[in-house]
C-alpha cells in the first residue's frame, strides 16, 4: 500500500485541507471498528506514540495510538493555521509540519513565489524530506490551493516546482480553486495565469474547482432539504457538504459546506487505493489513463449522489440516476458542460454495492449521448471499490479529460488581458526581485498554447471518422 502527502498552501488550501482531514478521520472511523492501525489508515496517517514526545519511531502495526496526518501546512499569515491548531484537529497535526509567516502575500503571486519561495525554500525541502522519510512507499503529493491569491497561488506553485525537483518519481495531483468572475481580488487574473504556467509544466494532474459550482451545489442541496418535496428524510451525514459525524460541533463557517465537497472529492479519488474492491483503481492509473498528452492534464470532476435518502433499498433506477447525474452540468465542480464538448478520456470510480454489470449497463446507456475523440471512442477507465462513503450505500466519482475546460481558460485569459493591456497593477509585480515583463508574456503564451491545443481537438469533433490505414503484411 502506498502513502500520500497533502500539502495545503494559503488560506483556501488550508481551509479545504482542514475539512479533508476531518472527513478522512470520519471515514476511517466508520470503516475501522477495531481501532487497529491498518494499511488503509497508513496511506494518509502516521501512527505515533506521543508519550515519547512524538519523537519516537512510527508504529506500523497494532492498536492506534495517536494518528498524525501526513501533511504540510503552509501559510504566510498565521490566522488560518492558528485556528486549525486550536480547533478539534489540533492533535492530528505535528507541530513540526507547519510553515507560517506573519504578513501574508498581499494577493501577489510574485511575493508568494519569488520572495517567500526563496526565503522558505530550504525549510520547505527539509520538512518535505521528513514527511517522505516517514513513508514506506510514497506515491503521491496532493497540493491544495487557490489560484487567485498570493500565497496559495505563488508559494503553492513554487512548492509544486520543488516537488518535481526533489521527488521526480512521486505523482503531483493539484486541486486548484479557480477565481470566479466576481472575485473580490482585483489581481486574481494575474495570479491565476502566472500560476497556470506552473501547473502546465509541473503538475501531473490538475483538478480545477470553481467556487460558483460549489456554491450552486450547496444551494441545490439546501433547496432540496427545505422544500420538503421528498417524502423521506435525507440522511444528514450523507450530504456531500456535511460535516456531520466529524469533529466539528460548532456552527459551520460559510465556506465549510463548499470545502466539504472538495474534501469528499479527494476522499473518493483515493478510496480505491486505500480500500479493496473487485476492480482497483490506483492513483498512478488515474494519471496513466486520463492524460493522453503531457500538457492536457486538466480533469473535470463530478460527485454523485449529493445526498442519500433514509430508505435503504435502492432500486437500480436510482443507481442509474446516479450515473446520469454525474454527466449533468450541475454536478460538475467547474462551470462546464462536458456532455456538449469533446471527451478525450473518462474515468468512473464507483464505491459501494455496485457490480460490474451496473457499470456496463450505464456506460452503454450514456455512451451514445457523449462525444469521444476519434482515437479514443471507448475511452473509459473504471474502478469498483467495495467501501462506500459515510452515509451512502454507493457513490460515483467521474473524472473527465474534456475540452469543456476550455471556456474557463478562455475567460481567465480575457480577464487577464483586460488588466494587462492597461498595465493595471503591474508595478506591484515588476518591483519584485526576479519578476520581469517576460514572466507575464510567457505565462499568457503558455495559456494560449493550451487553449489552442484544446481548439485543435474540438475541431475534430463531429467530423468524419477516418481510420488510419493498417500495416500491410506481405502474404
Amino acid at each position: 500500500m502506498t502513502q500520500s502527502v497533502v500539502v495545503q498552501v494559503g488560506q483556501c488550501g488550508n481551509q479545504v485541507g482542514c475539512r479533508f482531514w476531518d472527513l478522512a478521520l470520519r471515514e476511517h472511523a466508520a470503516v475501522n471498528k477495531k481501532g487497529i492501525y491498518d494499511e488503509a489508515l497508513s496511506s494518509f496517517f502516521r501512527n505515533v506514540d506521543t508519550r515519547s514526545g512524538g519523537n519516537g519511531p512510527d508504529i506500523y502495526k497494532g492498536k492506534i495510538c495517536s494518528l498524525k496526518a501526513r501533511a504540510l501546512l503552509i501559510d504566510m499569515e498565521e490566522g488560518v493555521v492558528n485556528e486549525i491548531l486550536q480547533g478539534p484537529l489540533r492533535d492530528v497535526f505535528d507541530s513540526k509540519q507547519l510553515i507560517t509567516d506573519v504578513s501574508g502575500s498581499g494577493n501577489n503571486w510574485a511575493v508568494g513565489h519569488k520572495i517567500y519561495g526563496c526565503q522558505y525554500r530550504e525549510n520547505i525541502v527539509e520538512k518535505l524530506r521528513k514527511t517522505a522519510e516517514h513513508c514506506d512507499c510514497l506515491q503521491c503529493f496532493f497540493i491544495i490551493h487557490s489560484m487567485g491569491g498570493g500565497t496559495g497561488s505563488g508559494l503553492g506553485t513554487f512548492v509544486l516546482n520543488l516537488l518535481e525537483e526533489e521527488f521526480p518519481e512521486v505523482y503531483r495531483f493539484v486541486t486548484s480553486v479557480y477565481p470566479s468572475g466576481e472575485d473580490d481580488v482585483i489581481t486574481s487574473p494575474y495570479n491565476s495565469v502566472l500560476a497556470m504556467k506552473e501547473l502546465n509544466e509541473h503538475a501531473d494532474c490538475v483538478l480545477p474547482i470553481e467556487n460558483e459550482s460549489l456554491f450552486e451545489i450547496v444551494n441545490k442541496i439546501h433547496q432540496m432539504i427545505s422544500s420538503g418535496k421528498l417524502g423521506s428524510t435525507v440522511k444528514q451525514n450523507s450530504l456531500v457538504t456535511s460535516s456531520a459525524g466529524s469533529s466539528k460541533t460548532i456552527q459551520e463557517k460559510p465556506f465549510d459546506a463548499m470545502n466539504n465537497i472538495v474534501a469528499n472529492l479527494l476522499l473518493n479519488l483515493t478510496s480505491s487505493a486505500r480500500f479493496e474492491g473487485s476492480l482497483n483503481m490506483d492513483l498512478n492509473e488515474i494519471s496513466m489513463n486520463l492524460v493522453p498528452f503531457p500538457r492536457l492534464h486538466y480533469l473535470v470532476s463530478s460527485l454523485t449522489p449529493l445526498y442519500t435518502l433514509a430508505d435503504v433499498n435502492v432500486p437500480s433506477r436510482r443507481l442509474d440516476q446516479m450515473f446520469s447525474d454525474a454527466f449533468s452540468r450541475d454536478h460538475q465542480l467547474i462551470q462546464a458542460d462536458p456532455k456538449h464538448s469533446l471527451y478525450l478520456a473518462c474515468a468512473l470510480l464507483v464505491r459501494g454495492n455496485v457490480q460490474v454489470s451496473d457499470l456496463r449497463r450505464n456506460i452503454e446507456r450514456l455512451k451514445p449521448s457523449l462525444h469521444f475523440v476519434s482515437w479514443n471512442q471507448e475511452g473509459w477507465k473504471t474502478g469498483l471499490c467495495s467501501v462506500p462513503p459515510v452515509g451512502h450505500s454507493h457513490s460515483l466519482l467521474a473524472l473527465a479529460n474534456n475540452t469543456c475546460v476550455k471556456p474557463t481558460f478562455i475567460e481567465l485569459k480575457d480577464r487577464f488581458m483586460k488588466l494587462y493591456k492597461k498595465k493595471a497593477h503591474l508595478h506591484h509585480y515588476l518591483q519584485i526581485d526576479g519578476m520581469e515583463q517576460s514572466c507575464f508574456s510567457e505565462a499568457i503564451s503558455s495559456l494560449s498554447d493550451l487553449i489552442e491545443e484544446y481548439n485543435e481537438l474540438d475541431a475534430t469533433k463531429g467530423g468524419p471518422r477516418i481510420d488510419p490505414s493498417r500495416l500491410k503484411i506481405a502474404v
Binding site: 489513463n289 474515468a347 460490474v356
Partner: protein, 450 residues
C-alpha cells in the same frame, strides 16, 4: 505430472482463486456418477496435478501469486484460507507496495527486471515440490499493467529457465467498451510478446462470459466474482483429469503436453478459444436433461458459426462442400475454419458418443488430416454436478475478429500518438510498438488465410 499455476495481477489472482475453488469442490463432490474406485482415481489425479499435501491435511495449491500491490493478493489468500478445504502456501506470494498503474512498460521494463529473482525463486520452489513438472499455467489479464506487462516478462523468464516445459497462458480479454483506456496498447504489447515465449494462449473474453452470466446463468447483478466463477468452471472442464488414450486407459499423466500436441501443430497458430456446454444456474441442473447427440450438434454448430454460447447460434452457416477445393477467400462468410479441435466429454454414457461430425474435413484447413486435426477425450466421471458436460478447445478463427478489433483500435490511437509518452518514459519506444503491431498483423493474416 503437476502443473504450477502463476497468478499475475488482480485479475489473475481473483480468477486463480476461483479455479482452485472449483477444482477442489468438484473432487470433493459426490456427483461423480461413477464407481468409488474411479472417483478416487480422479481425486488423486487432480490432487497430483494441482495440489500438494501438507501435514495439516488441507491441500495446498501449487501456485505462485504475484502482484505489484498488496490488496488483491491479501484478499485472495484470506478467502482461500477461510474456505477450510484448501489454501495457498504462506510462502508462495510476492507483492510490492505500488502497482503498475495500468502501464505495460512499467510492468515489463521496470518491475520485471527488478523483481525477476524473487519471483523466479518462488517459481523454482514450487517446481521443486513437484515429483514431475508438467508445465506452467499462467493467468493474467492483458488490459492492465501487472498481469499484462509483468506477465509477459515472467513468461519470458519461465521460457528461459525451463526451456523444455510447456507454458500455457490463460489470457483475459477486457470488455470492448473499456475497463482501462490504454487497454488496447497493453493488449497488443502483451499478445505479441507472449507469442514469442508461450506455447499457447487460452483466451476468455469478458464480454462473452458476461453474456453467459446474463442470459444463461440468469444472474441479475453480475459481479466480477460471477464472471470469474464461470471462467473457473470452463477451465476446470478442460483441466480436470481425463482419459486421453481412449476407454480403459488411465488418466492422462501429461495434461499440458497432450493439449499442446493436439492443438498447436504450428507455432504461427497459438490462439485457443474455449466453449463449454451446457451452462446453467446450479438450481436448474436437477430439472434439465440433455442428450449427447443434442449437445454435440450444438457444439459443432457453435464451432462452425463462431457462436459464443448455446443460445443464439446461427444455424444458417454451413461448411463449404467437401471434396471441392475452395480457396480460402471464397469460403462462405462467417464460417469458422479450424486448425485443430479438441472435444472433452465428461459424464454419463460418454463412451457411446459419436463425434464423427467433428471429423468432417470441410471444417479444417487443408494442411492437416482431419484425423490429426481432431481429438476427443472422454471421461465417465461427471464434472461439477453436470450430468453431461462437453467442452471444445479450438484453434480456429474464433479470435480473429476480436484480435483484429483490438489491433485496429490500438493502431488508431497509436496514429494520433496519444498516451505514448506514458510508455516511452519507461523505455518502450515507438519502434517497439511497431514491432508488436507487425507481429500481430502477421498473426491476423495467417488466421485469415486459413
Amino acid at each position: 505430472m503437476s502443473i504450477v499455476t502463476v497468478q499475475l495481477g488482480q485479475c489473475g489472482n481473483q480468477i486463480g482463486h476461483e479455479v482452485f475453488s472449483a477444482l477442489c469442490s468438484d473432487i470433493r463432490g459426490t456427483h461423480g456418477l461413477c464407481s468409488k474406485k474411479e472417483n478416487e482415481s480422479y481425486h488423486d489425479s487432480c490432487m497430483e496435478r494441482f495440489f500438494c499435501e501438507e501435514e495439516s491435511g488441507v491441500p495446498v495449491a501449487r501456485a505462485v501469486l504475484v502482484d505489484m500491490e498488496p490488496k488483491a493478493i491479501s484478499q485472495t489468500l484470506s478467502m482461500a484460507a477461510r474456505s477450510g478445504h484448501w489454501k495457498y502456501s504462506s510462502h508462495s506470494h510476492f507483492c510490492q507496495k505500488q502497482g503498475s498503474g495500468n502501464n505495460w512498460a512499467n510492468g515489463y521494463s521496470v518491475h520485471g527486471p527488478r523483481h525477476k529473482e524473487a519471483i523466479m525463486n518462488l517459481v523454482q520452489k514450487e517446481a521443486e515440490k513437484c515429483d514431475r513438472l508438467g508445465g506452467f499455467f499462467t493467468i493474467m489479464s492483458m488490459a492492465g499493467g501487472t498481469g499484462s506487462g509483468l506477465g509477459a516478462f515472467v513468461t519470458q523468464c519461465l521460457r528461459d529457465a525451463f526451456p523444455a516445459s510447456f507454458i500455457l497462458n490463460h489470457v483475459i480479454w477486457p470488455y470492448g467498451t473499456g475497463e482501462v483506456i490504454v487497454q488496447n496498447y497493453n493488449s497488443v504489447l502483451t499478445l505479441s510478446h507472449l507469442y514469442q515465449s508461450s506455447d499457447a494462449l487460452l483466451v476468455h473474453e469478458n464480454d462473452v462470459i458476461h453474456k453467459i452470466c446474463a442470459q444463461l446463468m440468469n444472474i441479475k447483478q453480475i459481479s466480477f466474482r460471477d464472471v470469474n466463477q464461470v471462467i473457473a468452471h470452463q477451465l476446470g472442464s478442460v483441466f480436470q483429469p481425463t482419459h486421453t488414450g481412449g476407454e480403459g486407459s488411465g488418466y492422462s499423466r501429461n495434461p499440458l503436453g497432450d493439449l499442446m500436441e493436439t492443438l498447436v501443430p504450428h507455432p504461427e497458430f497459438k490462439l485457443l478459444g474455449l466453449r463449454n456446454i451446457p451452462q446453467m444456474p446450479e438450481n436448474s441442473l436437477a430439472y434439465s436433461t440433455f442428450s449427447w447427440p443434442g449437445l454435440i450438434k450444438h457444439l459443432r454448430q457453435m464451432l462452425i458459426a463462431n457462436a459464443k454460447m448455446e443460445e443464439g447460434i446461427d444455424w444458417q452457416v454451413r461448411p463449404p462442400h467437401p471434396g471441392s477445393s475452395i480457396p480460402s477467400t471464397n469460403k462462405p462468410l462467417h464460417f469458422n475454419t479450424s486448425v485443430a479441435n479438441l472435444v472433452i466429454l465428461r459424464g454419463k454414457d460418454v463412451h457411446s458418443v459419436d463425434l464423427g461430425s467433428f471429423q468432417d474435413p470441410a471444417l479444417y484447413t487443408s494442411w492437416l488430416n482431419p484425423q490429426d486435426a481432431f481429438s476427443a477425450w472422454k471421461t465417465p466421471r461427471a464434472f461439477n454436478k453436470y450430468e453431461k458436460s462437453a467442452s471444445l478447445v479450438s484453434n480456429s478463427q474464433f479470435l480473429l475478429k476480436p484480435l483484429d478489433s483490438i489491433v485496429g483500435k490500438a493502431w488508431n490511437m497509436f496514429a494520433s500518438k496519444a498516451y505514448l509518452h506514458q510508455y516511452t518514459k519507461f523505455g518502450i519506444q515507438e519502434e517497439d510498438f511497431l514491432d508488436c503491431f507487425t507481429t500481430l498483423e502477421q498473426v491476423i493474416s495467417s488466421y485469415t488465410n486459413l
